[in-house]
């Protein structure tokens, strides 16, 4: 009776391949991880105090992830976020002594400027985003290290006073809502997805592809600048390792959230929220379970592998632009 | 009136291993005449020229220069006899000066030293004769191809050559450089020189030459006065090969008791094709007809292991073979030219040589590589055999035209000398000349015992070439018709019946 085994086997694999399952997968993943952590830490993770601490770790990665989401939908990759956060945080801290609004704007503008550098080299010289962002990562990592060699740069007391959860939640939610609106209801979302799934065809259909790509990088930088402000409130002073490995963390979060690495039409806005939450919960859970950092990294790697294997979109295998 | 014949060639035959480059060709050149020589590449033009200037030895026939029989042993010997050639790539020394190039090998001496002043003076005088006032002492590479050509011609003139051969001189010249060359040619013609002009630009032939000789496949089609033949007539004579080829295409004769080369029984994969059986005799050509998406490509991919067949067996030459990957298929000598040339066939960035040797090399595995020499030989053999229009085998395959790319892929699989060759839409998207070529090659391979599966949506091609035709509809084999008797109408009706 080989025939009907084939039948249900192929039905199962068909289901696994189908888009609906792929769409749901991240949510299932989040529930599974939450459930596992709840069980393993026998409920301690859900305690209010713990929950607030967990949430406080979500804010700035969520904002940065929103920016990177637009870049990855283009099919490109942005490795600069970590060092952008570092440099922007320095600017925010220095300006925080003058006045707070200036600090916020300064942070955003610095981030936007770095994003513009990425965008300019990627578009004008048609260099792969991968290469450009590695160079800028190094460059601004060095700049950040240079300024924080002697001592960490302190932020003004005034800015630290702002450190209240509802402010941070407010900013994050606002960013998410605005980004969702732009993505879903305006031309930007369509353009970005079009460039991701077929750049030449998009160009031939009237999409200003170069402009879209440039603005995506600038937006990612600006949002990271805003995240720097949120980070400075929480951290208070900037050391040379600020934002270290943030770019890998964001990449993993978004992929855990179900974002296909090649971008294009299959991206869902929910990838950002689910991915960042999942990463933070996983991170916190492992810390609470007492694994030292080495094993934590190991487990994160394995979890990441499982999700990647399931969500990979074989049809859209392309070189990263 | 053009003068007496200064050059006569009668019954010239030259054979290269396996191919008769020139077969009993007569050619004559008069004094003070521009005589164009034309034909498709591979027609024998350059072989004839190389025979005149001694590069190729002629197997039979006679060459008369001013009535005396000559047998030049090489270009230098020919130059002594007064025959100079300007090749397409102008083979002079770029680093030497213009003047030196004109007098290389025969510098005027003054008390046993080279008399440079004399050389420059005469070079300048020659160049002014062609209304070019250039600094003859600068290196040749400094100047454009047009001026380099003029230097080569000046050299021929200075040697009082009687016959000047120009091989594709205008291919890299722009408009006014071509006019400059023509004015020089007309001057030389007036001075009594006989000029043989080879070009593929038809309007240039009409512009400057008095007579023309057309070669095709090594045969002399005819010599005509310029106004005797209209352009369309000229083309059909030159390209006549295709009309010939199309009408002379005959289905391969398959003896009834020829061994079954390929037998596939009830092959199918669950999702796309459920159950197809095919038998293919040695040297037989089966056509696959059907609308797009009727499963022809899917069936071919299963035979070749490009997609996994879930059930059914495949026998090659009698033995049961399990074909899971293209590698297994190639091991059991099945070859497959895919439909989507760009995606699955040509590897654009690699050279033609690398593309052609790919299948042979992958069968050998990377541990015992083919030497660069073997690869070039293999590539050149098929470039010549299939008439791929390329200067050499190092050109990037991606830069070739559609027809030539298709020939490169065909060469890749012919080189692997398969028993069964599957061709998926080999003639799509290429111009009329190449289409006929590909069909001729296919039938030639059948003649040599290769069994061919020919998938095409051009019904006239299928009918013309196939011994048997399998008609597919909605991923199933609905009919098998004898190629001889059926017409387009029958196939269309069988196909149409089913389609909703």
């Amino acid at each position: 009776m080989a025939r009907n085994d084939d039948m249900n086997q192929s039905k199962l694999s068909a289901f696994l391949e189908s888009d609906t399952f792929k769409g749901l997968l991240p949510f299932i993943g989040l529930v599974v991880i939450l459930g596992a952590m709840y069980y393993l830490t026998d409920g301690r993770i859900m305690q209010p105090k713990r929950l607030r601490l967990l949430l406080s770790q979500v804010y700035y990665p969520m904002i940065v992830a929103t920016g990177v989401f637009f870049v990855m939908t283009l099919g490109s990759i942005d490795f600069t976020e970590g060092s952008t956060l570092g440099v922007a945080s320095i600017v925010v801290s220095v300006l925080s002594f003058y006045n707070i609004p200036l600090a916020i704007i300064g942070g955003i503008l610095t981030g936007a400027a770095i994003g513009a550098v990425n965008g300019f080299f990627h578009v004008k010289f048609r260099l792969q985003s991968f290469i450009v962002t590695i160079c800028t990562m190094y460059l601004f990592r060095g700049v950040c290290a240079y300024f924080t060699t002697e001592t960490a740069i302190p932020a003004s007391a005034a800015i630290k006073a702002l450190d209240s959860d509802n402010l941070k939640i407010g900013i994050t939610v606002a960013v998410l809502i605005v980004a969702f609106f732009l993505f879903k209801f305006t031309r930007i979302g369509n353009d970005v997805k079009a460039v991701g799934s077929g750049e030449t065809a998009a160009k031939f259909s009237g999409v200003r592809t170069d402009k879209v790509k440039f603005l995506a990088f600038v937006a990612a930088g600006a949002l990271t600048g805003l995240a720097a402000f949120v980070n400075v409130i929480k951290v208070g002073s900037i050391t040379s390792t600020a934002g270290n490995q943030l770019e890998t963390q964001i990449l993993i979060s978004l992929v855990l959230g179900g974002l296909p690495i090649t971008g294009g039409a299959k991206v869902r806005f929910s990838n950002i929220v689910v991915g960042t939450l999942m990463y933070t919960v996983l991170n916190n859970g492992l810390v609470m379970l007492g694994f030292e950092s080495a094993t934590q990294q190991l487990i994160k790697g394995v979890v990441f592998l499982i999700f990647v294997a399931l969500t990979i979109d074989r049809k859209a295998l392309k070189v990263i632009k | 009136m053009p003068g007496k014949n200064i050059l006569e060639m009668r019954g010239i035959t030259i054979e290269f291993p396996g191919v008769k480059a020139l077969d009993g060709v007569d050619f004559s050149l008069r004094e003070g005449e521009i005589h164009s020589l034309l034909g498709e590449n591979g027609a024998g033009k350059s072989t004839l020229i190389k025979c005149i200037n001694g590069v190729n030895r002629k197997d039979s026939g006679v060459i008369l220069l001013d009535g005396k029989e000559i047998n030049p042993s090489g270009p230098y010997d020919a130059m002594q006899l007064g025959i100079s050639t300007v090749f397409q790539e102008v083979n002079l020394c770029p680093n030497l000066s213009v003047a030196e190039n004109i007098f290389v090998g025969r510098q005027p001496m003054k008390h046993n030293q080279i008399d440079w002043k004399e050389i420059n003076r005469r070079a300048e005088e020659l160049m002014s004769r062609f209304h070019l006032d250039i600094d003859v002492t600068r290196p040749l590479s400094y100047y454009s191809t047009a001026i380099q050509q003029m230097t080569a011609i000046a050299r021929a003139v200075d040697v009082q050559a009687k016959i000047l051969i120009l091989d594709e001189p205008t291919s890299s010249l722009d408009e006014n450089e071509v006019q400059l060359l023509f004015s020089v040619m007309r001057e030389l013609k007036a001075s009594g020189m006989g000029i043989i002009f080879i070009t593929h630009f038809l309007d240039q032939i009409y512009a400057v030459s008095d007579r023309m000789t057309i070669l095709r496949n090594g045969h002399l089609v005819g010599t005509y006065d310029i106004n005797e033949l209209g352009k369309v007539e000229l083309v059909t004579k030159m390209v006549g090969k295709d009309m010939d080829v199309i009408f002379s295409l005959k289905r391969a004769e398959v003896s009834p008791d020829a061994p079954i080369m390929l037998k596939a029984e009830h092959i199918g994969d669950s999702s796309r094709i459920d159950d197809i059986s095919i038998t293919l005799k040695k040297g037989e050509l089966i056509g696959f007809a059907g609308l797009l998406g009727s499963g022809r490509t899917e069936t071919a991919e299963m035979l070749f292991g490009a997609s996994r067949a879930v059930h059914g067996e495949i026998f090659v030459d009698g033995q049961n073979v399990s074909i899971k990957t293209p590698f297994d298929a190639i091991k059991s000598e099945i070859a497959f030219c895919p439909e989507d040339r760009k995606r699955d066939g040509i590897i654009g960035d690699l050279s033609i040589r690398e593309n052609i040797m790919l299948a042979v090399q992958s069968r050998k595995g990377f541990m015992h590589p083919m030497t660069r020499q073997e690869q070039t030989e293999l590539a050149d053999k098929y470039i010549k055999l299939l008439g791929i229009a390329t200067p050499d085998c190092e050109k990037k395959a991606g830069e070739l035209s559609g027809g030539n790319q298709q020939k490169v892929i065909l060469a890749r699989w012919m080189a692997a000398s398969p028993k069964v060759l599957i061709l998926d839409e080999p003639t799509r998207g290429i111009d009329i000349g190449a289409k006929a070529e590909i069909q001729r090659l296919m039938l030639e391979m059948c003649g040599e015992g290769v069994s061919v599966i020919f998938i095409s949506s051009e019904l006239d091609e299928i009918i013309r070439c196939s011994n048997r035709i399998i008609i597919m509809r909605d991923r199933a084999k609905v009919a098998e018709v004898d190629g001889e008797s059926c017409t387009q109408q029958d196939i269309l009706r069988i196909i149409a019946e089913g389609a909703a």
Binding site: A202, F204, K315 | G240, L292
Partner: protein, 500 residues
């Protein structure tokens, strides 16, 4: 019709191939001493009818009465004996034999002396016949393969006519002959008529028929329609009789002489893209289909891109009627120019996107109400235009990569229909698409031009160019090399002459 003696009476002739009804109850009378043309579209049964008469096919039903006696010919040799001979379209002579052997094939007995073939006599006799026919350049003793296609056809004519057949069938032979070959053939068939015998002449060349034949019988889809006198009909009447039926065959446009409005919608002035096209200038009129033809690398595709503002470093100007210059794609689209590329999967459709997004993309700005896009509105917009093009799909949110080639092209056209583009640049719009969908696209093109839109159609298929364009520009080596207005007499050769 003169009341001459009936030479051949065919009553209720019928023939089926499997399920196709090739000849359906045809009754024709052919009189002595006339040249009867037998015409009809491909597949109308005219060849089958004649091949039944001379024994190539067995007679399905009905009887042939020749000169009063019923005949049922089993093979060509018997046919010749009864006075019926045929010159087929393809190669009628057998390679490997001498010319003389070919001429007397099947009638060797006069040369047989108790079993031994007297070859020299045969050659002598053959040469006599050849000289009689005036084909002096053909040697009876030589092998037939040494002659080119045309001379072999002349030998075939001699073979078919030397024994004075009562009825000579000439099946589309003239297409393969050059001008002087055809003159020879006309001389011979006139001689047959003068001798009181008759000829059945099958050809597509209507003016050849009108000049050389007395009466014309028309077949359509295997059925006999009518017989008319050549003198009292012209080409249009014959065409109408031949085509007649409403469905199907009106594949291309059948209207000729449509006046194109002088209003210029787009003017292109000496546009140059280095290395691809050189100062191309032309104008596009409202409601016109401007065809672009040429060999594959002639630059016509780049010209299409230049008009759309898609070529990078382009010199020269592309200006609309209202003076706006088109220099990049967004302005082109904004000023209602649409472009469907030859490389459809890469440059026209976004493969990994839904059908809806592919259709709405250029019109996003128009659909947005102060920058806000409502999903419902987009869906309705996409559904409306997809349905207008009868695209076969499950739903507009289905991924476009699952559609067939024809349906993908429909989505591209739906996109520009939705955008309301007045000027459409279509590059090989029907490449690799099924027959039925091709018809739909041609119908759409005519509808659009009727609404006053103008189309630039770039195509590599000459019949498509001839069939659809009001005006055709032929490109060669990056330059416009010829311009033709739409007319019935325009033939493929005219276009090819400019292309080569």
């Amino acid at each position: 019709m003169s009341d001459k003696k009936i030479l051949l009476k065919a009553e209720h002739i019928d023939k089926r191939f499997g399920i196709t009804h090739a000849v359906n109850d045809v009754s024709i009378d052919i009189y002595a001493g006339e040249i009867r043309a037998l015409i009809g579209e491909n597949g109308s049964g005219k060849s089958t009818f004649c091949q039944m008469l001379c024994g190539i096919y067995t007679i399905g039903g009905g009887t042939f009465t020749l000169d009063g006696q019923p005949v049922n010919v089993r093979n060509q040799v018997e046919a010749n004996r009864l006075g019926v001979s045929i010159i087929v379209q393809e190669m009628g002579t057998l390679s490997g034999l001498t010319v003389a052997e070919n001429i007397f094939l099947g009638h060797e007995d006069p040369f047989m002396h108790h079993g031994i073939k007297d070859t020299p006599a045969m050659i002598r006799e053959g040469q006599k016949l050849l000289d009689e026919y005036g084909f002096t350049n053909i040697k009876a003793g030589a092998m037939i393969d040494s002659y080119n296609f045309e001379d072999r056809k002349l030998v075939e004519i001699v073979k078919a006519t030397y024994m004075k057949p009562k009825i000579l069938i000439v099946d589309e032979t003239t297409t393969a002959l050059s001008q002087n070959g055809r003159l020879e053939l006309y001389k011979i068939i006139d001689a047959v008529r003068a001798d009181g015998r008759s000829v059945i002449f099958i050809s597509h060349d209507l003016n050849e028929i009108l000049t050389h034949c007395d009466t014309i019988s028309i077949l359509r889809d295997g059925e006999y329609i009518d017989t008319v006198n050549a003198k009292d009909v012209n080409e249009d009447d014959i065409k109408r009789l031949m085509v007649g039926r409403e469905i199907g065959s009106a594949y291309y446009r059948t209207d000729y002489g449509k006046t194109i409005s002088p209003e210029v919608v787009l003017s292109v002035k000496n546009v140059t893209v280095p290395g691809q096209i050189e100062n191309v200038s032309f104008e596009l009129h409202r409601g016109e289909i401007l065809g672009f033809g040429g060999l594959s690398e002639c630059g016509m595709h780049e010209a299409g891109k230049a008009v759309f503002g898609a070529s990078l470093d382009r010199e020269g100007t592309v200006t609309l009627a209202d003076g706006t210059q088109i220099n990049d794609i967004p302005t082109a689209i904004h000023h209602s120019i649409g472009y469907a590329s030859k490389d459809r999967d890469n440059e026209s459709i976004i493969l990994n996107e839904s059908i809806r997004n592919n259709i709405v993309l250029p019109s996003l700005d128009d659909l947005a109400e102060n920058h806000i896009l409502k999903a419902g509105k987009l869906n309705r917009f996409a559904q409306e235009f997809a349905d207008k093009m009868q695209t076969k799909m499950q739903g507009i949110n289905q991924f476009i990569s699952d559609l067939s080639g024809g349906n993908k092209q429909k989505v591209v056209l739906a996109r520009w229909l939705g955008k309301g583009s007045d000027i459409l640049v279509l590059d090989s719009p029907t490449r690799g698409i099924d027959v039925k969908v091709k018809q739909a696209i041609y119908a759409l093109m005519q509808e659009l031009t009727a609404q006053g839109k103008s189309i630039i159609m770039i195509s590599e298929e000459i019949p498509e160019l001839l069939g659809m364009s009001d005006r055709i520009l032929i490109m060669k080596d990056g330059r416009i090399n010829g311009e033709f207005m739409r007319s019935e007499s325009l033939s493929e050769e005219d276009l090819i002459a400019k292309m080569v």
